[in-house]
Amino acid sequence: MAESVPAESAHAHDHHDHHEQSFASKYLFSTDHKIIAMQYMFTGLAMGLIGAFFAYAFRMQLAFPGMDVPFWGQVSAAEYNALVTNHGTIMIFWVAMPVLIAAFGNYLIPLMVGCDDMVFPRLNRLSYQIFLLSAIVLIASFFVEGGAFGGAWTAYPPLSAKAEYSLTPLGSSIWVVAVALEFVAFLLGGINFVTTAMNSRAEGMGMYDIPVVIWMIVIASILFMASVGPLVAGAVMLLFDQTIGTNFFDPDRGGDPVLWQHLFWFFGHPEVYVVLLPAMGITADIMAVFARKKLFAYKTILYTTFATGVLSFMVWAHHQFVAGIDPRMAHVFTITTLLISIPIAELCFVYIATLYKGSITLTTPMLWALAFLFEFLIGGVTGIFLGASGADIYFHDTYFVLAHFHYTFFPIAIIGTYAGITYWFPKMFGRMMNDTLGKIHFWGTIIPFNCIFIPLFFLGMGGQHRRIYNYENFPELAGQGMQDLRVFATVALLVMLAFQVVFVINFIVSLRSGKKAENNPWRANTLEWQTPSPPPHGNFGSEMPKVYRGPYEYSTPGREEDFWPQNAPS
């Protein structure tokens, strides 16, 4: 319409007259998408350390009740609740979301679709600043009177709405505000991602030439935008209930607490796919590169992902089977929940088909990608039990649910993140990571991970309820056999945490003295590898790339090289 579109070359020229920038303007207030991606990533990883520390503290309490936990001290019952609640909140909203969507989205979208930045760079910066503020607000809730919110990450009222139940008059309101701010940050970021990928692709890049990881991040952003609204409205209602005493969710005064559960899970379930899809996308790209094979059924992957996205809006009440929901609705939600396992299983099969007869190189990123598929399958299969309303009545709120949940989210948030970091590290920092240390870290994470959570499945089936601070008070749960499993899981956690030090060392050492990375160390096709490592400001120098083919043309018969960059003229 009225938008003036100046010639591209005139703008490309602008990028070259840059003055020396101060540290603050370069790293703190930059509008460059790569810097913002790093800010998101390091903030997310730092929050991950806090979330992991919380897990350490409450697992120690469960394994050795009443002990003086090193670096924390005695874990009181109220502290236990706050730790569990904020472990969940932080790991989902302040680790999985910023690292998987915001960091990789920010870094990869402009590079992989072949443009110089996001379409709204300043909005992008604002998004990060609001996110940082939300993180600070959440941490602050630990230092207010009454302590941090302890009503579980789902914040069900009336526990979360009334201070006389939760005993955290300030903590619960601060929690709601922090979560709401975080949503605002991701709404701004999501609009940026979607618009960039829709509108600003390189010349020649059609819909089906977009790498799967970009598709997945975009679809995830759309899912987030379309599902978060009711919870934003719900957060306002909950905040009013807490602070000025309205009665939206107060059953004593005509409110309905189950409404909150619906508002929460209408967002909460699509949220699982919001973080799952980027991890799936990262895995797909890595698998195609290290199997040196064209990604199997590219279009099927897209259609399946769309189907998953739409279905994810119809399954939310399977979290509420024991909340007294209408039994007829429970049937409907059981059916839709079992249906959604079909497209996800299909994705797994398609990924395995990509590996079939490929020339696989087991580099560190590839190991992570394979582990993602393997571990996530266990998470998916155990989900079937919980999706069926009849079985769920027995499993609900036990450690079975907890173990299932961690078998889905650990692959997503931790394995997916490590896959992405180890794969794109050369591009991000211009140096290679140490492969031996990478593999030590990989096995040191994967083996203890299974040792933590497999015992929890058995504990859950043995009837161990969640959210209990000390099992000594429950004779049927305090037996030696069960306690041994708890100790085993906790020791495995300690081992896993210890092995993360290897990653930190590898990261720092590689950053300072790793082998210099060439432009395209993995010999990949996508556009980000066709520019220097790390990419300059403006990403592609004076000439923006043109795209001639899809992103997965590996081992094309009749070509000398086994890869065929998207921007190479044939």
């Binding site: 009225a2 990028h15 110089d116 509108n199 600003s200 609204g229 306002v236 209602m237 009013f240």
Partner: protein, 191 residues
């Protein structure tokens, strides 16, 4: 800002980037208001007695405010029309007229609320009033935000700069109008 990324100048979907982003903003607003109004309607249907509370809302004030918003929408679209013809000054004048509409809307709301609160119908009185103030308040916040953004855009308009933004704020304003079109019967007329 002097420099814009090349990314901003592309429009592969055929929809200019700014407008596409505003469509996404509106899409995410639809679900925010959708969740709130959906919750209200469910409660309304199970609470037949709310009709007795709704009679205390002032239909005439609501109807007047609807007229104000409809008219301001007209001037917003006329501002867009002027902007597409490159007439920044005229567009700015229409935008000011729209802002005045938003201002009148807020003033009328203020009088309404003052009166209702004096009668004891506060946000904590019962769930009807809680929804009434939350829904209308969230909408009023959108009106205020729209007025502020329009003020910023009108300054650029006077210098004949960034005229495409008139359409963007216009679309947002029409959406705010649209929400009110549903709020009016939900909160005022249904008795």
């Amino acid at each position: 800002m002097a420099m814009r990324p090349i990314a901003t100048t592309r429009a592969m979907t055929g929809i200019p980037t700014g407008r596409l982003a505003v469509w996404w903003v509106i899409a995410s607003e639809i679900v925010i208001f959708g969740g709130l109004l959906g919750s209200y309607i469910m409660h309304r249907l199970v609470n037949p007695q709310w009709a007795n509370y709704a009679i205390h809302t002032n239909t005439w004030a609501g109807a007047f405010n609807t007229l104000v918003l409809l008219t301001s929408s007209l001037s917003a679209v006329l501002a867009h029309h002027a902007a597409t013809h490159g007439d920044g000054k005229k567009a700015a004048r229409y935008l000011w007229f729209t802002m005045a509409g938003g201002g009148i809307f807020i003033v009328v709301k203020a009088f309404e609320w003052t009166h209702e609160i004096q009668l004891g119908y506060t946000i904590t009185a019962n769930a009807f009033w809680a929804f009434y103030y939350t829904a209308a308040g969230l909408h009023a916040l959108h009106v205020i935000a729209g007025v502020v953004i329009m003020g910023i855009i009108s300054v650029d308009c006077l210098k004949n700069q960034e005229l495409h933004r008139v359409e963007l704020i216009g679309n947002y304003w029409h959406f705010v109008d649209l929400v009110w079109i549903f709020l009016f019967p939900l909160l005022y007329i249904a008795k």
